[in-house]
């Protein structure tokens, strides 16, 4: 049989991988639970980053790298981030050639907007449906390869497990046909998992309903490491809803949208009647330089604090205003409509108000997982980018843990999906050339048997528990205790709760045992895996006794000194020592500014603590599944630092 690659997932990452492999003449089998064109990536509204510097601001891929690393609090492997940011302009060109209808300037060049965590206009966009437009362009390229016989699609098929030999080496997958529940084995020399994020582990999120995280959980239960699971991005501005949290893109703030609450807690006037003098634009007040465009974790926590801690949410509820009316954003209505029409449509359709006339009402919600399958940067030996710890199994897109460190900057995900996808495609092609050994044939049979038996077990569930109720509880607990603010005692309770939910899982009543397109069966099958995936997320959060990026732990936050008294980190000797150590370890050549002089005692103290914290915690969390225990085994790996030394993350 000629060598083949299996790509699981047809979002941006999966499609990019597929295109690259097919382009190299290698046949690809592409699996997806929905027709790939309906993958979650279509939800992305705001845009995709690349330092093309078309606005003459002096932007550069190296500044993009630096912003990404800084925004992610230096938890990302730097050579990979650098590679991604350097290739970003060429990726935009590629998408442009594919026919993505990017917004244009009067001269016909690509237009760029500003997103959070940077001071540059670096985000290319297509109205407010960028993800959809990128998806469709890639989808059509994949269709072209289908007609050339290089791609075979398995849509409405759900990945169940990897087929591994004793090496262990990857030999294929098992998958279930959603339309008739049959389970089959598919052979391949490499498998790339591009299965997206785990939104449903948090119950309601901004993600699509197909984003269960089950595929990642399945690979994890087979031995693939799950890394940095505790880093979950809570987006500052979704609209709360009964069935999901609908995202209002960061691009609204990029186009001048402003977040505020009334200064008076008991304000009774309609928001549009409240003058600026009675509004507290709290982000602008606290962060005069970045204003409403501070990174997401910062914005989220400020909103959370205003509502939950200060009790200043609108009408006492967990809601704040996001005002993008022409008067407040400084842009005419028609311009706003052209740039943000897609976002406004969502608000009008699902909320019934017009954001051009009335400020929107928003509150933070679970949005993105920085963590995911370890797809690593090897510090010793050969570097196989995007390959997991199981030879021949790759991961790319939101399901991998790379690129964003402790916090993702807006519009960097679509980029990392495409870059990681192309890269994983390339590496898988190289990998299968070297993979000469034949698999012993019984590994297929035994994996199939395992899956069929598991399905039978689920079929026989006829207790008194409701699977949807268990899922609601999981989501509620994860959202309450493992999202914006974490506390150790609550995380312990949450761990116990997860054990309880797992125990109750065995007493579920599967209300439907039919075969044909039985969605309940699929949900219950995935619920098991959601429960399993909650564990590395919670345990990572429990162990990590610090605050970093999206992971904020109560009582473990370094109080940042007042900004005007800061002084320079490079004047702190401990910091210089740390940088020298890192430089030596990674063979890097960091240039620190000359020491200028003494620093204030307050800053000295802060830096002492900061250096200690970096030494202990600036490490990738690796969760390894341990069957028969109630949690993974955690270990820590050094982060590859070859580009810039870490520095305290203080936004002004």
């Amino acid at each position: 049989m000629p060598k083949r690659v299996i790509v699981v997932g047809g979002g941006l990452a999966g499609l990019a991988a597929t295109i690259r492999i097919a382009e190299r003449g290698i046949p690809v089998d592409l699996f997806s639970v929905v027709p790939v064109k309906r993958s979650h990536s279509v939800c992305a509204q705001g845009g995709i980053n690349a330092a093309k510097n078309l606005k003459g601001e002096g932007d550069h891929p190296d500044i993009h790298t630096n912003d990404t690393l800084f925004g992610g609090e230096f938890l990302a492997d730097q050579p990979l981030v650098q590679g991604m940011c350097r290739d970003a302009p060429a990726i935009i060109d590629l998408l442009d050639r594919m026919g993505v209808p990017f917004n244009r300037t009067a001269e016909g060049n690509l237009d760029f907007r500003r997103f959070g965590g940077t001071l540059y206009n670096r985000t290319a966009f297509c109205g407010a449906t960028t993800g959809q437009q990128l998806m469709y362009a890639l989808d059509e390229q994949v269709r072209r390869f289908e007609t050339l016989g290089l791609v075979e699609k398995y849509e409405h098929w759900e990945f169940l497990s990897l087929v591994l030999d004793n090496g262990p080496k990857t030999r294929g997958i098992t998958a279930m046909n959603i339309w008739d529940r049959s389970i089959e084995v598919f052979k391949a020399n490499a498998v790339i998992l591009c299965t997206g994020g785990p939104g449903l582990v948090f119950g309601k999120s901004t993600n699509s309903t197909i984003n269960t995280g089950a595929a990642a959980a399945r690979a994890y239960q087979q031995g693939v490491w799950y890394a940095n699971g505790e880093f979950i991005q809570v987006h500052p501005t979704p609209i709360p809803g009964a069935d999901k949290l609908r995202l209002i893109s960061e691009s609204v703030r990029g186009e001048g949208g402003r977040i505020w609450v009334p200064k008076n807690k008991d304000e009774k006037r309609a928001p549009q009647d409240i003058p600026d003098s009675d509004r507290d634009y709290f982000l602008e007040r606290k962060y005069p330089r970045y204003g409403n465009l501070v990174p997401r974790d910062v914005a989220t926590r400020e909103i959370f604090n205003i509502c939950v801690v200060d009790g200043r949410g609108i009408g006492g509820k967990n809601i704040v205003y996001l005002d993008v009316t022409p008067e407040r954003s400084g842009q005419p209505a028609d311009v706003l409509e052209r740039k943000l029409g897609g976002v406004f449509e969502i608000y009008r359709k699902f909320k019934g108000d017009d954001p051009l006339k009335v400020p929107m009402q928003i509150f933070p919600g679970m949005h993105y997982s920085m963590g995911g399958l370890w797809a690593g940067y090897e510090d010793k030996g050969d570097m196989i980018v995007q390959m997991t710890n199981i030879p021949g199994t790759f991961a790319a897109g939101e399901v991998d843990f790379q690129y964003h460190g402790a916090n993702r900057l807006g519009a960097n995900s679509l980029l990392s999906c495409i870059w990681g996808g192309l890269e994983s495609g390339e590496r898988s092609v190289q990998w299968i050339q070297s993979d000469t050994a034949e698999a012993d044939s019984d590994v297929y049979g035994s994996e199939l048997k395992r899956q069929v038996e598991f399905a039978e077990k689920i079929e026989k569930l006829d207790g008194d528990e409701n699977a949807f109720k268990i899922h609601d509880e999981l989501g509620e607990w994860m959202t309450n205790y493992c999202s914006v603010v974490r506390k150790n005692d609550k995380l312990d309770e949450l761990s116990a709760k997860i054990n309880e939910l797992e125990e109750r899982f065995h007493r579920i009543n599967l209300s439907d045992t039919t075969r044909s397109a039985n969605k309940t069966f699929g949900f219950v099958r995935a619920l098991w895996d959601m429960i399993q995936l909650a564990r590395p997320i919670v345990k990572g959060a429990r162990i990590r006794d610090e605050s970093r990026g999206a992971h904020y732990k109560d009582g473990f936050d370094l109080q940042k000194p007042e900004s005007d008294k800061i002084g320079e980190a490079s004047d702190h000797q401990g910091y210089r020592d740390l940088c020298a150590e890192i430089a030596e370890k990674w063979g890097a050549n960091f240039e620190l500014p000359e020491k200028k002089g003494d620093i204030s005692p307050e800053f000295q103290e802060y830096m002492d603590k900061w250096v200690e914290k970096e030494r202990r915690w600036n490490k990738t969390t690796i969760a390894e599944y341990k069957p028969g225990t109630d949690g993974p085994e955690l270990s820590f790996r050094d982060v590859a630092m070859t580009v810039v030394p870490p520095r305290p993350r203080i936004y002004k």
Partner: protein, 248 residues
């Protein structure tokens, strides 16, 4: 405020099975959409007359009306059920699967024919490769704006469901693929395949089979100017037939 919502669902246990109707009642909550009603039923699958049944199956994904998954007939109208708000619907709310596609189960249908149609019209740019070949051609904002309208098509199938020309006895390709043909014929790079695309529209099933009922534009959730595309493609085709006649 009503206390409960009454929903009638046309059910079908599998491909080729006989359809049947069931009625459900769900407690009213403000701001509900059809999907959240279905989710309530799924969690407690008991009919209005108290009989336990299987949960209805349906497709959904984004719940923001950008993926096209959850299309069905809601009170007789082809649309996405996620953006169908209960407060705006007459009751009982009647849910049916699309009638122009094979039913997989209940409200789930098989729309693979629409993706096949996109293959037939080669709705893509012929690229040399994914390596760095520099920027694409410049495009003025008006052209971009016009292309963007068509690029929003999510292959949801509403236009086909509403079209009298799309039926079991007709090979008509439908408005969605016509929109995409028109889109890629405008693409500075996609233009290269214009003749092949027009060739695909010659003969049975092509744009010429449009009966001008104009239902497609009325139901398209993305307000895609489909009739403009149909007319424009018709003209391109006429021009192409004349050209090929003289070149023969």
């Amino acid at each position: 405020m009503p206390e409960k919502i009454t929903v009638k669902i046309k059910r079908q246990d599998g491909p080729g099975r006989e359809p049947y109707w069931q009625t459900f009642e769900v407690p009213y909550q403000p701001n509900m959409n059809v999907i959240s009603v279905l989710m309530e039923i799924r969690a407690n699958p008991v009919t209005a007359d108290g009989k336990k049944t299987t949960p209805p199956s349906w497709d959904d994904a984004c719940l923001e009306e950008v993926c096209g998954s959850c299309s069905m007939r809601v009170n007789g109208v082809a649309r996405q059920s996620c953006s169908a708000l209960v407060d705006q619907l007459a009751q009982p709310i009647v849910l049916e699967p699309f009638s122009k596609f094979p039913v997989i189960r209940d409200l789930m249908i098989d729309r693979s024919s629409m993706f096949e149609a996109l293959k037939r019209v080669k709705a893509w740019n012929p690229l040399d490769g994914t390596y760095d070949l520099g920027p694409g051609p410049r495009v003025d904002p008006e052209t971009q704006d016009d292309m963007y309208k068509y690029a929003e098509c999510m292959t949801c199938g509403c236009c086909l469901e509403a079209c009298p020309q799309v039926n079991e006895n007709s090979p008509f390709i439908g408005a969605a693929a016509i929109g995409q043909t028109y889109l890629y014929n405008q693409q500075p790079i996609g233009k290269a395949l214009m003749d092949e695309r027009l060739e695909a529209h010659m003969g049975p099933g092509g744009v010429g089979d449009c009966g001008n009922a104009q239902n497609c534009v009325r139901v398209c959730p993305k307000d895609i100017p489909l009739t403009t595309a149909i007319a424009a493609l018709g003209r391109q085709l006429t021009w192409y037939s004349i050209k090929s006649f003289f070149l023969r």
